[in-house]
């Protein structure tokens, strides 16, 4: 790990966004992860995305569980709210926070161990309930903190650094998210920020449960020739189904594409995703077709990336439960103690 604090000096031409911050203002402490860890690239992509979206840091809550991945919220958005939960319990703590204050942007950071092993039930239910959040799994297929055992997302047949072959089948988090009703599902690669940054931006603006599985090589334990989560393997097998080209409002779209080449997806926050197709027969708005296509390409050994599914009419837990529009901490005494007449009415309704 690096012992220095990152120098404060920044490039003289660094610009400020609409809310007055430079990209450097979205950084956190210096990373203590191994040099070259894919997770650091994901942190950099989150920093870039939040800066580009002109997000005020104090409007973000970043939550995580336990693991290398879950350490990373310390390394970005140093001025945001944060909660480092018990192993695998990030989704429920985040759900609680979200119910209490729907005005914040929720960023859930987890890893393959945190979400596919100990926290699989938490992950599944957060997707199922449609908690509005950007749920990012930094997926490296190994337990890095405990010296490199296979995790639940390691592909069957892949090799560990010591040469052991994995005999168990992998948990496919993207497949589960699709099946359980996540309304924004993407997969990306830590080594491809051009793809990852717009995906994160889209997830942050999404109106429901947004899930991104980011393959993030573990340079220490899982970046060797037998691995299916190494820089080289992912680069060779990466098949992007689309590229997010634009994140603009309706009126600003100027570039024209031939019909069928692009799909425009309006977002909850008024922005717009323009998806440029790379696979001609791929339709990211058809859940069933997306699942079929993914399974088919997976059998050919391809790692399908991009925005795999999006439902522009997503709704979230708040609308399902019809909760308070106002964050709980902003409610006054009058709303919180409506008086005995209201209590009588509620009690009467329960009789």
């Amino acid at each position: 790990m690096t012992y220095l604090t990152k120098p404060h000096l920044h490039h003289p031409t660094l610009t400020r966004n609409k809310v007055g911050y430079t990209r450097r203002d979205y950084e956190g402490k210096i990373s203590t992860l191994c040099a070259g860890c894919g997770h650091d690239s994901i942190s950099a992509a989150i920093i870039q995305a939040c800066w580009e979206l002109d997000i005020e840091p104090h409007r973000v809550a970043k939550m995580s569980g336990i693991g290398c991945s879950s350490k990373t919220p310390d390394y970005f958005l140093g001025a945001s709210h944060g909660f480092n939960t018990v192993h695998g319990r990030m989704p429920s703590v985040l759900t609680g926070a979200n119910l209490a204050n729907r005005d914040l942007l929720y960023l859930g950071i987890s890893g393959d161990g945190d979400s596919a092993s100990i926290g699989l039930g938490q992950f599944a239910n957060a997707m199922r309930r449609g908690v509005r959040m950007a749920y990012i799994v930094e997926n490296n297929g190994v337990y890095g903190l405990t010296k490199g055992q296979f995790s639940a997302t390691a592909d069957r047949g892949s090799k560990s650094k010591k040469g052991v072959i994995n005999k168990e089948s992998a948990v496919d988090l993207v497949g589960i998210a699709l099946q359980l009703g996540a309304t924004y599902v993407g997969r990306s690669f830590s080594g491809d920020k051009e793809q990852l940054v717009p995906l994160i931006k889209g997830a942050l603006g999404h109106g429901g449960a947004a899930f991104i599985d980011v393959i993030s090589p573990c340079v220490t334990f899982n970046n060797h020739s037998g691995s299916t989560k190494s820089y080289d393997y992912v680069r060779e097998h990466n098949e992007a189904v689309n590229r997010i080209d634009f994140m603009v409002t309706h009126s600003e779209i100027t570039t024209s594409y031939a019909p069928g080449e692009v799909t425009d997806v309006p977002q909850h926050d008024g922005s717009m995703l323009r998806l440029r197709k790379l696979h001609a027969d791929y339709d990211p708005t058809d859940r069933l077709a997306a699942m079929n296509y993914m399974n088919e390409r997976h059998s050919f050994g391809e790692v399908l990336t991009g925005l795999l599914y999006v439902d522009s009419h997503a709704s979230d837990l708040h609308s399902a439960l019809n909760t308070s529009r106002i964050p709980l901490n902003a409610l006054g005494v009058k709303e919180l103690t409506p008086g005995s007449a209201v209590l009588e009415k509620i009690n009467a309704g329960l009789r």
């Binding site: 404060h8 000096l9 490039h11 003289p12 031409t13 860890c37």
Partner: protein
Amino acid sequence: MRPTDTSNPDYFHRVVDCQWACPAHTPVPEYIRMIGQGRYADAYMVNWVSNVFPGILGRTCDRPCEPACRRGRVEENNGQKAEPVAICRLKRVAADMKGDVKARMPTIVPFNGKRVACVGAGPASLTVARDLAPLGYEVTVFDGEAKAGGFIRSQIPRFRLPESVIDEETGYIFDLGVKFRHGERVDSMRELLTRHYDAVFVGCGAPRGRNLDIPGRQEAAENIHIGIDWLASVSFGHITEIAPRVIVLGGGNTAMDCCRSARRLGGSDVKVIVRSGFDEMKASPWEKEDAQHEGIPILNFHVPLRFEHESGKLTGMSFDVVKAEYDKNGKRTLVSTGQPEVFVACDVVLIAVGQENAFPWIEVETGIAFDHWGLPVLNEHSFQSTRPEVFFGGDSAFGPKNIITAVAHGHGAAISIDRFLNKQDVNQRPAPHVTISSQKMGIHEWSYDNAISDDHRFKVPWAKAETALANIRVEVELGFDAATAFKEANRCLNCDVQTVFTRETCIECDACVDICPVDSITFTTNGDEGDLRKRLKAPTLNLAQSLYVSAELKTGKIMVKDEDVCLHCGLCAERCPTGAWDMRKFLLITSQAGNARLGGKVKEPA
């Protein structure tokens, strides 16, 4: 772009902006680190080998290194005013605190049978003498004055440079067995050439101050002085006072020395009046600041018209007020504003409007040719004149410059003389000594301090104004104390510790891109330079700074590093999982005569 050829010493040398800008190419970061470590004598010797007069230059250098300093660029838009490292004043710290360095001076070898004459005892001649004497040459330096130093002694006021410093540093040279024939002005080159020297070096400076021939000059001559002559008289104690009201004409460093000297000799109303605008004045910015600091006003855009006098007694000067106009090519002309003439009353005028070369003592029949500006016809690399055994350097070679340039000329001429007397081609110049070595000591441990200081430039403390202005021999600047020098030394970015990239081991994980605090590194597809510069993570238009470009990597991209504002913090190398980035110290020492590294006793820490 083609991959960068780092085997060419110029590439990494250029990254060390200060060293590249220095005419003598003194390895600046190398000695600043030593100052930071308290190794003042080592730091002094690094300087002494390279620039011969560290104590003198640490007070008076024109410091081309400082405007070039990377620190001045990286601090831009990062808060307060961007300022370079106080390189020059750190050099003085090394000189002030070094202790006794006599034992570190080169040893003299027996006489090699060759005799060299140096005309003038200024910095260029003394450098030639220092470089040649330890090789066994018998070097004789001639000067019309009683003491050595040339303009260093006669022009630079004592309040900027105490005489003891000049005595000490010229003394080290004479201790090498160099003969000094003082009070012996050479007034005939023809005669000198008959004295059977094997080579002659001319380092006699540009001794003539330019005059200003406008009406009233002759009539009021008694109270009008040429600046450099007046400074010399002050320096030698012939002049000890001046009338209260003084006008100094001119905008160069000599004008600044004149006005500040006048202020100390009784001038209570001293003004500098200059033709050009304040910003275009030739004086270094800090010298202008120092003059203003002492309450001396600078009037710009005033063109002198007449010296006014009453029957030969100077009463003042009249000026035309002008403004600058620029044509299409940016050429400036000063145009009268049409305002009424300005009269400035005064008792004395000091003219400091430039210097000229003069060689009345070099006869035509010696075969030494001069061009139509009156300067000797020289080979600009070898300093050899049209008479093979005669070489020129310093102000007498290409016109008035500064001390550090004279030193650089001296080194160059010494190489030529040594080669010439060994029957070698003087046009072949020896390559510099270059070493490059990894600074890695362990995981994320480097043998240099890679933490970046957030400090702003420290100010050198000054003597109290009433003390300083009362006596011309009281040094104004007091120099940094050790604690401040340490902090100022820490501002140095160690630009000589280079970021070296090994393409073969790079796995393109982007860790270096993500960590770089100044967005210097980009992985992208190749293109021509103009195109690449636009596609960098932080696009750069500073064409003076190179792009470091790798050959194609596995994914077909290349690594491009913009050297411009790199902090040399080493974080790219710390975050690199495969050691594709390494921090390597690049040390370039220019070759000197005999290819011997003089006083090469820079000790590594035990």
